[in-house]
């Protein structure tokens, strides 16, 4: 167990370093010259050269990478070309709204997806089951920005139940969280359905029924908790999908998180910010996966350690 955890941790650290290498190579290959961009258009060649030296841009590749990695370990993600601020400061300020949105998104997708999955499995092959499965396909096939705009149009613009966009009150959170969770709800509904069907065929469920427990009790106390086990690991993978999702959802709803930060940076081609967000997101995914694997290990003792 301890050996497994240690190996898993080391593997994750290697991946984290690998991620930093990939983002660095991308920055390195970038056609734009950061020194010139920071100096501004009217700067003299000497000023640009000066900045280049200050930033260490004249150093060889490996030395620049080591400096970059060293900076990362101290939380230094570089400076924005346009906002003239540390990227890490910008991201730190935008992180809480994004975490809130992601938390609410996960809650929405689990609540909707798992419920529908269980219902579909219990009513297997019925009209309801078929309808829900078509719906889950729609969930995974609908472009998130269209879902977001549709929800705004119907529930904010037409019905006026929620604000059109912005951040601050619980009402502001509902539509973005639903938009973010819509895609995942489709996946979870499908996975929960097939997981439930697997579990329902197993002996312990039959035994529980045979010893006279009510159907509701068997489903809620025996089948559902066991069907949830394989789903736990999925939440870790899900972090990646959510990270892509927040860029879209935050730009549609004007939500002041890191996704919107990245989107605004796209418009101005402010590469360090885009890179910083990508790096933070990739690290979050690796850590999310590690966390989910370890969690799955604790909730499901049958998992074999490899």
């Amino acid at each position: 167990m301890a050996a497994y955890l240690l190996r898993r941790l080391l593997g994750s650290i290697l991946i984290l370093i690998g991620i930093s290498l990939v983002t660095f190579v991308l920055l390195y290959l970038l056609p734009a010259d950061p020194a010139r961009q920071i100096a501004g258009r009217s700067a003299t060649a000497a000023t640009v050269e000066n900045i280049r030296e200050q930033l260490g841009l004249n150093l060889p590749f490996y030395e620049r990478y080591l400096r970059y990695l060293g900076g990362l370990l101290q939380g230094d993600l570089g400076r924005s070309y346009i906002q003239r601020t540390e990227v890490s400061t910008l991201i730190a300020a935008r992180l809480p709204p994004s975490l809130l949105l992601m938390g609410a998104g996960i809650l929405a997708e689990l609540l909707i997806g798992l419920t529908l999955g269980v219902v579909a499995a219990l009513r297997r092959r019925s009209r309801l089951d078929q309808g829900l499965m078509v719906l889950s396909f729609v969930g995974v096939s609908a472009p998130q920005f269209v879902v977001g705009i549709l929800l705004i149009y119907v529930f904010a613009y037409r019905l006026g139940w929620f604000p059109l966009s912005g951040y601050g009150t619980p009402q502001h959170l509902v539509l973005p969280a639903l938009t973010l969770g819509f895609l995942g709800a489709g996946w979870y509904a499908r996975m929960m359905r097939s997981s439930m069907l697997d579990v329902m065929q197993q002996d312990f469920v039959r035994t529980a029924r045979a010893k006279g427990l009510s159907k509701a009790r068997v489903i809620l106390r025996h089948a559902v908790p066991n069907a949830l086990l394989p789903i736990v690991a999925m939440v870790g993978i899900d972090v990646g999908i959510l990270m892509s999702g927040i860029v879209v959802v935050e730009s549609v709803f004007g939500w002041p998180g890191i996704g919107q930060l990245a989107w605004q940076a796209i418009q101005r081609v402010d590469i360090p910010i885009i890179m910083g967000v990508t790096l933070v997101a990739a690290w979050a995914i690796v850590i999310g996966n590690l966390f989910a694997d370890v969690l799955a290990l604790f909730v499901d003792p049958r998992i074999k350690l490899r």
Partner: protein, 282 residues
């Protein structure tokens, strides 16, 4: 042929195939069936106040903010979606399959290096990586296709790798090996044919992912650039007016949904048909 007959026995898959066929025909015949050029700002395409025209009337689906015929832009946009869907996904599946087979067949150091690299790329959120790449290059149709391919090959590589490993440990491969078959012969004659169905399934499902990613990139303004119509950039161009001209967002939105949905249901049905191990879940 047998596969197609099987597909047509399923309602959802038949629906998906029909939608795909209709969209392909419309895209191919675009110059014939579109009443206007997709970029033509027609003289009577806007109201006197300068607002876009709603669906119905002289313009079947109405006009956009610049007075262009939405129907014509939509049909030409289908070309964009299909070209990117097929090209980008084709490159992604090919790359993923080659890397997966190579890593799974050779194993050893080469396999380990390839798969660690795959794992690494998997850790990046697809959209953000695509954004970084698209922001680095000047996005044209082909660059967008390439960017999507660079992001989407990873999963195919993982699946094909696992499949190749499990195939090469099966008894019939072992038997071939002991009969003295060369490595090349085993790979081409015995392993590759067994991977075809997996590749077909992923190629189909992958088009749905690709179509959605292209639409999202274009919606964010870093995909296919106007005036070339793409379903994503039609929404991007018109989104600020969605309260007064909602059709400009929702008609292309439904088009994206239908195309992605169709490839998803057909891919899912193919997986059912081609992969008997998964059967019995329905």
């Amino acid at each position: 042929m047998k596969v197609i007959r099987e597909l047509l026995r399923r309602t959802l898959a038949t629906f998906g195939l029909t939608v795909i066929a209709v969209i392909v025909v419309l895209a191919v015949l675009a110059p014939v069936i579109t009443p206007y050029s997709p970029n033509e700002q027609t003289f009577d395409g806007l109201t006197l106040e300068g607002a876009p025209l709603p669906p119905g009337g002289a313009f079947l689906l109405g006009t956009d903010l610049l007075g262009r015929d939405l129907f014509s832009r939509l049909i030409y946009g289908a070309r964009t979606s299909l070209v990117i869907g097929v090209v980008a996904n084709g490159v992604a599946v090919l790359t993923g399959a080659v890397i997966g087979i190579t890593a799974g067949f050779l194993r050893g150091v080469v396999g380990a290096v390839l798969m660690r690299f795959t794992d690494l790329m998997m850790a990046f959120p697809a959209l953000l990586l695509a954004i970084v790449l698209a922001a680095m290059f000047r996005p044209s149709l082909w660059i967008v296709a390439l960017v999507i391919a660079m992001v989407n090959w990873v999963q195919v590589a993982r699946v094909i790798y696992t499949e190749t490993i499990s195939l090469s440990e099966r008894d019939f491969i072992e038997a071939e090996r002991s009969l003295g078959a060369s490595r090349g012969r085993i790979l081409i004659q015995h392993i590759a044919p067994h991977l075809v169905s997996t590749i077909v399934v992923w190629a189909t499902l992958g088009i749905a992912t690709t179509v959605l990613l292209e639409a999202t990139l274009s919606f964010l303004g870093i995909g296919v650039q106007p005036p070339t119509p793409s379903w994503g950039n039609i929404i991007f161009e018109n989104q600020t007016y969605f309260t007064t001209a909602p059709w400009l967002v929702f008609i292309p939105g439904v088009a994206i949904l239908m195309l992605a949905l169709s490839f998803n249901v057909v891919g899912d049905a193919l997986r059912d048909i081609l992969d008997p191990k998964q059967k019995g879940r329905g």
